[in-house]
Symmetry: C2
Subunit: 278 residues, 2 copies
């Protein structure tokens, strides 16, 4: 693990690191925010943040203003990249496939399979690295935006024991039934649509046998709301399954980081209720 940058932020430390990922077979960069160390040997809970299409580890770090509340609550933020990177990693000319668009799945199809194993990276490899190198405990929550909201919801629904809580801003709720998801899943997972359901929050939620606290925030002026995000599908599945999901619709807000910045305090306080519970 190599330190790339480090600066003070809200009395804590905002850093970037690179590391060799065996799972992705490439070098990866991530950002991490550490609250100021209150006591020696203190171990903090972690919120993993998954970003959306075209993002790197920097968008959330620079634009969400999340460090203020993370510092106050005593939470570590871990912000991974959104895909494998490097010259020998397959890519597509579209912004919604390939680099910057890993969709948090394990690809089974060529040319994607050798590097695009983002699900395993986020669920297994990165937390091991974080827990071996930073003052964190075993309490984890997960949160994300858009494609990263899809990632957070699906990863939490598939691993409810690993997370205390999950939340999402403007998530792609039903990727098997929207253009972004159909394009990406066809490429990464192939034409067998049954295999896609393993990465669809609406399907996973309807089959869930274990529940965890879930908060979703959606802007009503989001340009992707109807065609790509489909929170109504998730809401209907939750109602049918008796799964308590708090879905909040906010008038006037769009898909941008201005929306995230406006409500990140609420999301971090939501996670803190579970992360810091005795």
């Amino acid at each position: 693990m190599q330190l790339v940058s480090k600066t003070q932020c809200f009395d804590g430390t905002q850093c970037q690191y690179t590391h060799r990922s065996d799972v992705l077979d490439c070098e990866m960069r991530f950002s991490v925010f550490l609250p100021s160390q209150a006591e020696k040997d203190q171990r903090f809970p972690v919120v993993y943040w998954l970003s959306g299409l075209t993002c790197t580890d920097e968008n959330f770090s620079q634009k969400a203003g999340a460090q203020r509340m993370a510092a106050e609550l005593g939470i570590v933020l871990v912000i991974p990249d959104t895909s494998p990177r490097g010259d020998d990693v397959a890519d597509d000319e579209g912004y919604d496939l390939g680099k910057g668009a890993g969709f948090y799945v394990n690809a089974t199809q060529l040319p994607w399979k050798p590097h695009y194993q983002m699900y395993d990276y986020i669920v297994e490899e990165l937390p091991k690295l974080i827990e071996a190198n930073f003052p964190v405990g075993d309490r984890r929550a997960i949160c994300g935006h858009s494609m990263g909201g899809h990632g957070a919801l699906t990863i939490a629904l598939k691993n409810p024991g690993r997370f205390t809580s999950v939340s999402a801003f403007s998530p792609i709720c039903n990727p098997i039934a929207c253009p972004w998801g159909e394009k990406a899943f066809a490429a990464y997972l192939g034409e067998d649509r049954a295999s896609w359901e393993e990465y669809d929050a609406t399907v996973l939620l309807s089959r869930a046998t274990e529940q965890l606290p879930m908060l979703i925030s959606q802007g009503e002026e989001d340009q992707f709301l109807e065609q790509q995000l489909k929170p109504n599908a998730l809401e209907a599945a939750a109602e049918a399954a008796g799964y308590p999901v708090k879905i909040e619709h906010h008038a006037g807000y769009d898909h941008s980081y201005y929306f995230i910045a406006s409500f990140i305090e609420q999301h971090l306080r939501f996670h803190a209720d579970y992360l810091l519970a005795h």
Copy 2:
């Protein structure tokens, strides 16, 4: 004035506009944040934010997280661009001269003179436009970062009656004696160094006959501190002149927006004390 973008942010409105600037003889873009209108006919005070080298109106809007406090305090934020723009505007290949580097002066030299009149734009033309088109009163404060900190300090020192207060993050305090300032002032103002003093905060402060509340925040790990920013020169001038300046040095912080984000609440509360005073 043309609306470019508009979204909700902290229950207020974050917008971008373009307009024809007669002073700069080009089309200009600026950003503005409006708190949610509490009462009909309410008029808000304004904080003008001046950005640093390479910035546009978007850096502060997206990275400082200032809207949260502006919404809470009931303050309008106006964020202009850092230079004239357009294909027929003179430029330089360096990041520290020409577009993105207007230095908030009125250029007297060719090829800069026809468009680089940023001082008049910020002091006269833009406030008139703002005050004619937005629900603002005549209480104004000014604040900025780096080159924009230099701009805020010099503009306030030259126009103490127009502003209730001034603050700066990591300002270029003594541009006539640092590489950034020497390069820019030689180009924009010519070789007569006496003319440069009109735009040097340290010189202006030592000659000030009227005082206004002034707050300066400086990170101790700022890579530009010694060679370019020179807050000690301003501090010495203030002490010699008996001008009360609050200069705060913060251990661990660098020149980035992470520093601004960490202390923008303090700066906006500082301005609010004067902007909202009865």
